[in-house]
C-alpha cells in the first residue's frame, strides 16, 4: 500500500497576510477534506483518541466525513468537545491527537485538527445552534470566568438541565480566545458565535463583574447559588526582572495583544493607543511570543524573537514558528536578554543580550542554556514585548481565605475538580497554570459532571 501525503492546509500568502489580520489558514475544501479523511486507517486501536485530552472518537468522525455525512461527524465531535471550530484551529495537535496517530510514525499523521475545523466550519455555515434544552433542575450554578474552561463547564451543566450564570470580569466572554489569541489565528466571529450559541441555550452571561471585588465566592452562595466553578485562568503576566523593564515601550505580551485584540488599537477609529515601534524585540519562544511577534509584524514593525535556547526547543507550536518565519520574523536564538537601555526621554532604545550555548539537561529534561562569557551585544529597538509566561489571576486568592492554593498560586483540586471548599470546583489555567484550550475545556467538563453528582446528592 502506498501512503498518500497529508493534504496541505491552504494558506494566505505570507507577503499578503502581513498586511492584514485575516485568517492565515484558509480551511479545507470539501474535496480536500475527503482526500485527507481517506488517509485515516480507522485503526482498531486508535492511539489518536488517547492523545486527545477529551478523547474525541476521531476515527468515527473521520469515517463520517468519508461518507459525506458532515453533520454526523459534527455530532460525534461535540459529544466530547463543545468548541470544535476553536480546537481544530488552536490545539497543539502535534503533541496531542496527531502526535499519537499511527500514521505519524510513517511520516504523516492524519490532519485531524484540519478535519475537525472543516466539520465545525461546515456545520456553522449552514446550521443554527440547537435551542433550549429544557432547564429541568432547581440548583443554580455560578461560573467565574468565561474562558474555555468556564464556557465548557457552563455548556455541560446547561445540557444537564441546570440554570447557569457566568460572571466575567471583562466586557466580553471568551477569555484568552478573545483577548489573547489574534484574529488571524482564531477569528473572533467564531468565538462569539460559540458564546452566542450558549446564550441561546439559556446560559446567562454577566460581563463587567469581578468576583472577589463585586461579590466574593462565599457571597455567591449567599445569593443562592448551590455550586461554583472557578475558571479564572492564568492571566497575570510575568516579567524578567531585568534592568530597564519599566521603560516606556516595554509591554507584556498580554497588554500588547489585549490592546489590539480586545481594544482594536490597530483600527484607526478605535480610541485605544498603542506604541507600535519600528523595531520590536519579543522575548520568549512560546505561542504567546509568536502571537505578539506576528501582530507587531502586521502593524508594520521589523520583529525579532529573542529566545535563550535553540530552534528545536522553541515551545511554540511548530506551525506557528514556520508561519512566523514566512512572515519575515527574525529569530535571534541562543540569545538571552540582560538589560534594557532607554533614551533620555525614558523610551526603550536598545536591549543588551548575551549569547548562550546549550549545556546539560535541566530538571525539565531540556538542555540548560549557559551564558557565553564576554559575548554581550546590543540590539537597537524601540519596543519590547515580554512573553515569558503568566501565573493565575490573583483576585480569587486575595479574597477567598478558605480556598487552598499551591505555591505557584494555582487552585488545589482533587481529580474531580473539587477544591478545598464544599461546592466549589475549579479547572483550566487557574489550576494548571498556563496550558491549552482543550485541557481547560476538558477540566470544565469534568467539573460539570462532578457538580451534577454533588447537586444530585444534596
Amino acid at each position: 500500500m502506498t501512503l498518500k501525503q497529508r493534504v496541505p492546509m491552504p494558506l494566505q500568502d505570507a507577503q499578503e497576510r502581513i498586511r492584514n489580520f485575516d485568517e492565515v489558514a484558509l480551511g479545507y475544501t470539501i474535496e480536500q477534506a475527503q482526500q485527507e479523511a481517506d488517509r485515516c486507517l480507522n485503526c482498531r486501536n486508535p492511539r489518536c483518541v488517547t492523545g486527545c485530552p477529551v478523547n474525541i472518537n476521531i476515527p468515527a468522525f473521520i469515517h463520517k466525513i468519508t461518507q459525506g455525512d458532515y453533520d454526523g461527524a459534527y455530532e460525534i465531535i461535540t459529544q466530547s468537545n463543545s468548541l470544535p471550530a476553536v480546537c481544530g484551529r488552536v490545539c497543539p495537535q502535534e503533541n496531542q491527537c496527531e502526535g499519537s496517530c499511527w500514521l505519524g510514525m510513517k511520516g504523516g499523521s492524519v490532519s485531524i485538527g484540519n478535519l475537525e475545523r472543516f466539520v465545525a466550519d461546515y456545520y456553522n455555515s449552514h446550521s443554527h445552534c440547537a435551542t433550549d434544552p429544557a432547564i429541568t433542575k432547581q440548583s443554580r450554578v455560578a461560573i467565574v470566568g468565561a474562558g474555555p474552561s468556564g464556557l465548557a463547564c457552563a455548556g455541560e451543566l446547561n445540557r444537564l438541565g441546570y440554570p447557569v450564570t457566568i460572571f466575567e470580569a471583562l466586557s466580553i466572554g471568551g477569555g484568552v480566545l478573545n483577548y489573547g489569541i489574534p484574529e488571524f489565528r482564531l477569528p473572533k466571529r467564531i468565538v462569539n458565535q460559540e458564546i452566542d450559541c450558549l446564550l441561546t441555550k439559556g446560559v446567562q452571561l454577566i460581563t463587567n463583574r469581578v468576583i472577589g471585588r463585586n461579590e466574593n465566592i462565599q457571597e455567591l452562595f449567599d445569593e443562592g447559588y448551590k455550586a461554583v466553578f472557578i475558571g479564572t485562568g492564568a492571566g497575570l503576566p510575568g516579567f524578567l526582572g531585568i534592568k530597564g523593564e519599566e521603560l516606556k515601550g516595554v509591554y507584556s505580551a498580554n497588554e500588547y495583544l489585549t490592546r489590539v485584540n480586545l481594544m482594536h488599537a490597530d483600527k484607526p477609529d478605535y480610541a485605544t493607543p498603542l506604541f507600535i515601534g519600528k523595531k520590536v524585540v519579543v522575548i520568549g519562544g512560546g505561542n504567546v511570543a509568536m502571537d505578539g511577534a506576528r501582530v507587531a509584524r502586521r502593524l508594520g514593525a521589523e520583529v525579532h524573537i529573542v529566545y535563550r535556547r535553540a530552534f528545536e526547543q522553541l515551545p511554540a507550536r511548530h506551525e506557528e514558528v514556520i508561519h512566523a518565519q514566512e512572515e519575515g520574523i527574525i529569530f535571534d536564538l541562543l540569545t538571552n536578554p540582560v538589560s534594557i537601555v532607554g533614551d533620555e526621554k525614558g523610551f526603550v532604545s536598545r536591549i543588551e543580550c548575551q549569547r548562550m550555548t546549550l549545556g546539560q539537561p535541566d530538571a525539565s529534561g531540556r538542555a540548560r542554556p549557559v551564558a557565553v562569557k564576554g559575548s554581550n551585544f546590543f540590539i537597537d529597538c524601540d519596543c519590547i514585548i515580554v512573553a515569558v509566561g503568566t501565573t493565575p489571576n490573583p483576585l480569587i486568592r486575595m479574597t477567598t481565605p478558605n480556598l487552598q492554593f499551591n505555591k505557584h498560586g494555582c487552585v488545589v483540586i482533587q481529580e474531580n475538580g473539587l477544591t478545598s471548599m464544599q461546592g466549589v470546583y475549579a479547572g483550566g489555567d487557574a489550576v494548571t497554570g498556563a496550558a491549552t484550550v482543550i485541557s481547560a475545556m476538558g477540566a470544565g467538563k469534568i467539573a460539570a459532571t462532578s457538580i451534577d453528582e454533588y447537586l444530585s446528592s444534596l
Partner: protein
C-alpha cells in the same frame, strides 16, 4: 449599559457624573475605582469612586478633562448610557481605626479621592485634618462635603484667591513645625505633589499612603501596564494598589511611564510611529 443619572460641570476642567450601577454601589469602599468604556470604539479608563448611594444604586465620579476619553465622556448627557463600567476595583484604602490623628492631603482633582478617605476616618471617629489644595478659587471642589467630614480643613490655593496662598506641602510643613502630630498621612493628587509630601513626611518619620494612577487597561491584573516599582519590587497598581507606602514608591518611574502616550498618535497598518 449604565445610565448617567446626573451630571454637574464643576469648573472649566472638572466634571462630576453619577451613574446607575447597583452592583458597584453596593460594594464600593473608600479608595476603590472603576474602569469605564463609553462605547464600542472607546478606550477603558480608570476613575476613582468619589462616593456612592447604596439605596439609589449609584456611583459618583469626578474627572478632569484631560484627553480623548474624558472629553468624550463630557458629551454623554443625563439619561444616556455608557457601554461598560466595572468595579469596584483595587484594594480599599486601609482606614486606621485607632489613630490619634491623621492628615489627608488632596491636590486638585485628587480631592475627589481624598474626600472619601477623610470621610471614612471621620465616620470611624478618628480625628482627621484635611489639606486641600487647588490652583485658584475657580477650581475649588467639594469644600462643603470635605469640611463636614473632617476636624480641620486647611484650604490652600496657588495664588491665594481662596484660603491660604501656597502649596499643600508648605501647609503640611507649617503644621508639623507647629507641633501637630499625625500617625498617618494620606496624599492624593499630582504625582509630583505626592512625591514632595513623602519627602516631608519621611523627615518626620510619618507613615504615608499615596494613591497611584498609572495607565491601566483591564484593572484586574491581566496586562501589567499599571506596574509600578515599590520598594524595589514590581507591583500591579490595579490589584496590589492603588494605595502604596509612599516612602517606597519610585515616583520618577511613574511620572515617566504616565507620559507614554503623550505624543503617540494612533497608527494602524502603516506601522508609522508618530512620536
Amino acid at each position: 449599559m449604565f445610565t448617567i443619572t446626573k451630571r454637574v460641570r464643576l469648573n472649566s476642567c472638572l466634571s462630576q457624573i453619577t451613574i446607575s450601577a447597583p452592583a458597584i454601589a453596593h460594594k464600593a469602599l473608600a479608595g476603590q475605582f472603576v474602569v469605564l468604556r463609553i462605547d464600542e470604539k472607546g478606550e477603558r479608563i480608570p476613575l476613582t469612586i468619589s462616593w456612592c448611594d447604596k439605596h439609589q444604586g449609584t456611583v459618583t465620579l469626578i474627572y478632569q478633562l484631560i484627553g480623548n476619553t474624558t472629553k468624550q465622556l463630557d458629551t454623554v448627557m443625563e439619561g444616556d448610557s455608557i457601554l461598560d463600567l466595572v468595579g469596584p476595583l483595587g484594594v480599599p484604602t486601609h482606614i486606621d481605626s485607632y489613630a490619634d490623628r491623621v492628615c489627608v492631603i488632596g491636590g486638585g482633582v485628587g480631592n475627589a479621592i481624598a474626600y472619601p478617605v477623610a470621610k471614612a476616618h471621620f465616620n470611624n471617629d478618628v480625628p482627621v485634618d484635611v489639606i486641600a489644595g487647588y490652583k485658584n478659587a475657580d477650581f475649588v471642589i467639594l469644600e462643603d462635603k470635605i469640611r463636614s467630614h473632617c476636624d480641620n480643613l486647611y484650604l490652600v490655593t496657588d495664588d491665594g484667591s481662596a484660603g491660604d496662598k501656597g502649596f499643600v506641602t508648605a501647609k503640611l510643613s507649617q503644621l508639623l513645625d507647629e507641633g501637630v502630630k499625625y500617625d498617618h498621612v494620606f496624599a492624593i493628587g499630582p504625582i509630583i505633589m505626592m512625591k514632595k509630601v513623602c519627602e516631608i513626611t519621611a523627615k518626620h518619620n510619618i507613615k504615608t499612603t499615596v494613591s497611584l494612577n498609572p495607565i491601566m487597561v483591564d484593572g484586574i491584573g491581566m496586562c501589567g501596564g499599571c506596574r509600578v516599582v515599590v520598594g524595589g519590587q514590581v507591583k500591579f497598581a490595579c490589584v496590589d494598589g492603588p494605595d502604596f507606602d509612599g516612602h517606597l514608591v519610585d515616583f520618577d518611574g511613574l511620572i515617566s511611564r504616565n507620559s507614554m502616550y503623550d505624543n503617540v498618535h494612533k497608527c494602524n497598518l502603516t506601522g508609522e510611529v508618530h512620536k
